[in-house]
């Protein structure tokens, strides 16, 4: 059984200053993907759209139409294919950031698949970096349905989780991701301005053997950048205080 992260986030802020809520970072189970597919994805698909120039940004989400059961299976398939000759990347992981239910399970509020040791040509100081493959944070409508306060920084906590999974696998914290164009400028601004990631140039070399186009849709965080990024969550890695 795959271990959970060594240094996960254990709480996230609520909209009330000084008050956080306990969260748990867990390996994704099929039932989490099923939960998302049945309860969360319909809220996303029913309330949001892919980017178009004429719709308000608050209505835009890149993950409209996603199927997290498929995403989960892609992660498994990736892992199954890692022994193939020429595949230098490591196995994938699927993780959730969630909260506990009264029945003792977890409800995912953030979903992530990641390749913690992704063989790429972007990393400055090594051949591998953590590649955040698919990530979704819960929309406001899910918090409404669950009748709980919304948790802040959920999307960023998923990036932190991707970095931590890379660190656990021996990388130096570099992070790469592809910003789905369906998320529009809002998504790019989030990665660039909020997360301080570097947007690759269109003329950059392909990031990997199979990812050869749309280089400017990729965002990268150096080892130093990821240290700064993850440091903002240090206070959230302890359950109390």
């Amino acid at each position: 059984m795959l271990a959970t992260l060594k240094n996960p986030i254990k709480k996230l802020p609520t909209p009330i200053s000084g008050i956080s809520a306990e969260v748990t970072v867990q390996n994704m189970k099929w039932e989490h993907a099923v939960f998302w597919h049945n309860h969360v994805q319909p809220l996303i698909d029913g309330n949001y759209q892919h980017y178009q120039s004429n719709i308000p940004e608050e209505n835009v989400r890149a993950d409209v139409g996603w199927n997290w059961k498929s995403n989960y299976l892609y992660a498994i398939a990736h892992t199954c294919s890692t022994p193939f000759p020429g595949n230098h990347s490591g196995p994938a992981r699927a993780l959730i950031v969630g909260v506990r239910t009264k029945q003792g399970g977890e409800v995912p509020l953030g979903m992530l698949t990641v390749v913690p040791k992704f063989f790429c040509r972007v990393a400055a100081t090594s051949e591998t970096c953590s590649f955040a493959w698919f990530l979704s944070d819960a929309p406001a409508e899910l918090y409404d349905a669950l009748q709980i306060q919304p948790l802040r920084k959920m999307a960023m906590s998923l990036l932190d989780t991707a970095i931590q999974s890379g660190l656990d696998d021996g990388t130096d914290g570099q992070l790469l991701l592809h910003a789905d164009p369906a998320g529009g400028k809002k998504l790019q601004r989030f990665y660039r301005d909020r997360c301080k990631m570097i947007q690759l140039q269109d003329q950059s070399d392909p990031v990997s053997l199979l990812r050869r186009t749309g280089q400017d849709e990729y965002f990268y965080l150096s080892s130093e950048g990821s240290r700064v990024f993850t440091a903002q969550f240090d206070a959230y890695r302890e359950p109390e205080g």
Binding site: L2, E58, A75, A77, F84, Q147, I148, P150
Partner: protein, 250 residues
Amino acid sequence: MNAFDNLPTELIGLVLKELTGKTYDVHDANSLASAKSAFKDLLSSPEPEMLQRVIEAILRTSEKTESTSRLPSVELRLMDGPRETEEELLEDLPSRARPVLASQSRTRHQAVSPRELGFEAPAFGPRQPSPSVEQWEEFLLLAEKNIRTLSPYRRNERRNGDRVVLSWEHIAPNHEMVEIQRGQNVATAHFVFESAYVYFILSSEENVIYHSVATIEEADGFAKHVIKAFNGERDSANLALASIREAIAH
């Protein structure tokens, strides 16, 4: 990722049956091991079409066999966290969950801003002069008028050192929360509306509004009245007001 640890074995068996025609007894250890091996072979096929077939078969089988469960019941476990500025509190919320601050124009529920009514005490910070009965009256009236979407509250209790912290969580979309902190000789309650803070202080200190609170149960009862008042129940609003009047009279 250990590919199959978290996949239901029954699902693996059904998919293999569909794709290979073979039946595996997934409750038998040896048969399950064979099933996993066969399943891995399918998923690691170098042919993208085969991979797609496998994934589609899993999704199809899953849709057929899994029933939609009810939304589980969740209770946030609240705890102390870093303090943040009002500006920071606006950042990194889920889309459309932006709270309405007093300084901003009202949207969504047109909730009354308690600050406009003179409720300015910061949570856990220095005490401010208590609101007057008139202010409470005005507030409850406006609350009654504006906030009708609350669901029943949920009470949480936790210990933080020698303090017992009770919180009454409400309920999106208004994001109200009532919290009472009861320390050695202090009980504090604050209400939060749309992240604009409404406080009433239950305290043994001078600037109290309800100093007769002696037990958690009493605080609980008082909060219940106020919450119901906010939910548009006039009798409860009157009871809450009566409590406030009584407290101030003392």
